[in-house]
Symmetry: C2
Subunit: 334 residues, 2 copies
């Protein structure tokens, strides 16, 4: 059977039975943003890893060495953020084709070091080797989070507010803009392209959510809102309704969508790589937390509610209610 | 400048200044078998990662899915062994080309699970994605070791015995045998090929060395004896002399070398991928430890001595003394 018939998540289900856990310290294994391992009475270790392949995940024509270095680290920091953790160490492995010289690699590490310094992360290991074709980047990040703080995908409860920590869709529109570069007004595309090439991991937001003790579950929007909300629903055994008019889309995205004559909510719902957080917040405490967030200078935007019945519904601006089919990124199916 | 002019280790030196350590918990960063991070008063976390690329590190024509899965984990366990640690968790990322179906992948994970179960390792995370060309495998392994036990490369002292925990050269001869498969008698090649395709990580040996408190430094033989001894010498600020007639070579290797009309010590010295441990053992305690090892059923073979003067010397069977030039594997130069 081919992987494209099975999909990434079908594949994970298929091989999961082969992989036994020998360690009672493992709080959470495969299937969340990070693996979670208890290392002391009050502390969990978080581990996340991302494998980025040239032509699958990025094109060197579109992305400078420096932004590639910063993004490769940022997307892993975003996984730590989704678990409410403090990032600590990074391990960077590269398989390098001959065409990339040392100057390119210095730029790559300069970009990565900028993000590492900003978030207090130490790059302390990895592996470097030779590739005969594509550039390969693997980044591993470890982090720490309190055992009472850790945010997982499976903790959402019926009635919890579905909330986002920032706008969605910019990254997908930025990618579209890169694809059609010549036909797009540059004052619009630069913000969107930047969202795609240089996303900010929501570490601060993740910490605030974890420390609030009223956030029951979280995930970062990497596959796309429809997919990632689907992951939380599936793992929490719930459904959800979200409201199109509440989904935060940026002004550049709205204008760009107008120019391109497409619905901005298609990008917002199914785009992916936004790296904002989606959180399940206790209903009775949502308003208070949103107020604190506003004072602190971060966003917490209500877009819907978790429901005890399975299935995801989008309530459209028109009033029409439609089923959400997770349409985010699956590398084997795209 | 091209990487092949700089070499893997020159490259690491060149980018090291870009990577700041923010964390006082980091005992050892780049430049050892594992990164070492203190996580409690008496415990260090070990982290190691290896990136394996098709056509650079392996050919699918030569290696079954199952042995590739077991080897990909074993080589990382070997790094944990070199630091004296107990392996705990593994994270496996794959970039999969279309030509590999789910059955191949199930075999791969079956091979990996065999090694994981044998050494009590839990495979609890990773990333799976699509590759347009080569199969890419990244494995990360975490382990634990006492803060008073951890073995690093930089601790060797003048007068320490250079010792190995097993024979060297089999893996390189096995690789040569795979290259020339038709011309090699199969009763010889099977042992050697197995050493190459299915190496055993010396976890037990690493633990015994760590617990002995008379082992000052260790490394696993992955790049080759000449290179890996060179790493310990350089990081400990020492030199060494080793004796050709003491270097342990297996009977199949000797016979195979005879058939091929080559010197078996060339493979033993420069081959690599043996995954036995090289250790610096306190001279006064070596004999006692070797006796304990023999009783316990593991090997500790004296091959030379660390010296306060830099430079590595090979004392040949003929009595001639020659300088050892590290000739082990460098992916950018090979």
């Amino acid at each position: 059977m081919k992987l494209k018939d099975l999909g990434e998540f079908g594949f994970i289900d298929r091989i999961a039975h082969l992989l036994t856990t020998h360690d009672s310290r493992v709080v959470k294994g495969i299937g969340d943003d990070c693996a979670v391992i208890q290392i002391s009475e009050d502390t969990n270790l978080l581990v996340t890893t991302d494998l980025l392949i040239e032509r699958t995940h990025f094109l060197l024509d579109w992305q400078s060495a420096q932004t590639l270095g910063s993004k490769a680290l940022s997307v892993n920091l975003s996984d730590i953020a989704a678990c409410g953790g403090i990032p600590k160490e990074a391990f960077v492995s590269l398989a390098i084709p001959d065409r990339l010289g040392i100057e390119w690699l210095e730029d790559f590490y300069t970009g990565m070091a900028g993000v590492a310094d900003r978030f207090g992360v130490s790059v302390i290991g990895g592996d470097t080797t030779h590739s005969l074709s594509d550039l390969v980047i693997n980044v591993v990040v470890t982090g720490l989070v309190g055992t009472q703080e850790v945010l997982l995908r499976n903790g959402a409860r019926p009635g919890d507010i579905v909330a986002l920590t920032g706008p969605v869709g910019d990254s997908a529109a930025g990618l579209e803009s890169l694809r059609k570069l010549t036909s797009v007004p540059s004052h619009l595309s630069s913000t969107l392209i930047n969202a795609h090439l240089n996303p900010r991991p929501h570490i601060q937001e993740g910490r605030k959510l974890a420390q609030s003790h009223v956030c029951h579950a979280a995930i970062d929007i990497s596959d796309g809102l429809s997919s990632d909300l689907g992951h939380v629903c599936k793992q929490s055994g719930l459904g959800a309704i979200i409201f199109e008019d509440k989904i935060p889309v940026s002004e550049p995205l709205e204008k760009f969508a107008q120019e391109m004559d497409v619905n901005p909510f298609d990008w917002a719902l199914n785009g992916g790589e936004d790296y904002v957080l989606l959180a399940a917040i206790d209903k009775g405490n949502f308003r208070q937390l949103a107020k604190v967030a506003a004072t602190d200078g971060w966003a917490l935007i209500e877009i819907g509610e978790f429901l005890s019945e399975p299935g995801m519904t989008l309530s459209k601006v028109s009033g029409e209610k439609i089923s959400i089919i997770p349409r985010g990124w699956d590398h084997f199916r795209s």
